[in-house]
């Protein structure tokens, strides 16, 4: 195959169903830490300019360290994990596998739904920090 053609072939990543028992990893930048190095409620937010959801990585394709390394400054990030089934129990939240071909991130997944005060507090109650 011509190398130019080979370089233009994009991976064929289909969106998959994420099981309830799997974890989602989420990078939290230091801008969203409190004085004790824990996430603040504002960390749980949507990205309207990107996918419109809250970006996470599915454990099937990424480790927590791989998630952390995707930040511009890995050292300025912690990684937390969220159990998919528990996230789905939060009002109006849905978990969708949205592989990001452009950024070579097959693990990318979104948590869609408005991040109200209640929703942000529920996320605060269920997250677990991943020691790295």
């Amino acid at each position: 195959m011509d190398t130019d053609v080979a370089n233009e072939v994009e991976p064929d990543w289909e969106a998959e169903e994420i099981p309830d028992e799997d974890f989602l990893f989420m990078r939290v930048h230091q801008d969203y830490w409190d004085d004790e190095g824990e996430p603040i409620p504002k960390a749980f937010r949507n990205h309207p300019k990107k996918t419109g959801g809250m970006s996470t990585d599915w454990q099937k394709y990424f480790t927590p360290e791989e998630t952390r390394q995707r930040g511009r400054d890995a050292a300025a990030n912690i990684v937390i994990q969220l159990l998919t089934g528990t996230v789905r129990k939060i009002p109006d939240q849905s978990v969708v596998h949205t592989p990001d071909v452009e950024n070579n991130n097959r693990a990318h997944s979104d948590v869609f739904g408005e991040k109200t005060t209640e929703v942000r507090e529920r996320f605060m109650q269920i997250y677990q920090k991943v020691p790295l």
Binding site: P41, K115, T116, T117, E118
Partner: protein, 202 residues
């Protein structure tokens, strides 16, 4: 001036349509709303009814407080050092510039912080008056869209209160034990709200 330290006796207003103004949980155990505990406070929405004069019933404390019983309340004029430090430390939120997170977040207005700080201080003082102890300081952090979050937490429960940038917008809160009990609604920060800490410390 009465023994609660205010010129005007506390007025109790509740919204008889509170249930319709609060989102119902989906597929979750029944939640505890303000209405079901007859907890004083002024709630947003139509249909206010005057429920009584000067009588406060704290369901979690199990004590009926009346102006007469208020005679025995401690007069608290200063806040605990830890709570004062937490409130003062949070003032640095005002130093965050426009787009501080590179995601378009606005800067924070001092008036927003003052409302959050006032709530934290007054609520802690009122709780101390009623229960004789200081609670642990809340965490006061930047919220979405120029709002400020105040989060109170114990080992078993937590409650998040959001103070919007616009003072015409309602102050919303949600608290839960992570299992079966939850509270949600809107607050009038100028009414006594120590019931939130009474629920938290239960």
């Amino acid at each position: 001036m009465n023994d609660l330290g205010s010129e005007i006796p506390p007025q109790i207003l509740f919204n008889s349509d509170l249930v319709s103004s609060v989102r119902e949980p989906r597929d979750q155990p029944s939640s505890i709303t303000l209405d079901s505990f007859n907890i004083p406070g002024r709630f947003s929405g139509p249909g206010f009814q005057r429920a009584g004069f000067g009588a406060l019933q704290g369901a979690y404390a199990g004590v009926l407080l009346t102006p007469e019983l208020g005679l025995y309340k401690q007069q608290i004029t200063r806040i605990s050092v830890r709570i004062a430090a937490a409130i003062e430390s949070s003032r640095r939120i005002l130093d965050l510039p426009e787009n501080w997170d590179e995601e378009g977040s606005p800067a924070y207005a001092e008036s927003t912080w003052e409302r959050a700080a006032y709530h934290a201080k007054q609520t802690a003082i009122e709780y101390r008056k009623s229960n004789g102890v200081w609670v642990n300081p809340p965490k006061i952090t930047p919220g979405p869209d120029g709002s400020i979050d105040v989060r109170w937490k114990t080992l078993e429960r937590s409650v998040l209160i959001n103070f919007p940038a616009a003072d015409t917008e309602p102050v919303q809160f949600f608290g839960s034990d992570g299992d079966t009990e939850s509270i949600r609604g809107t607050l009038d920060i100028f009414s006594p709200n120590q019931w939130i800490l009474m629920w938290l410390m239960r």
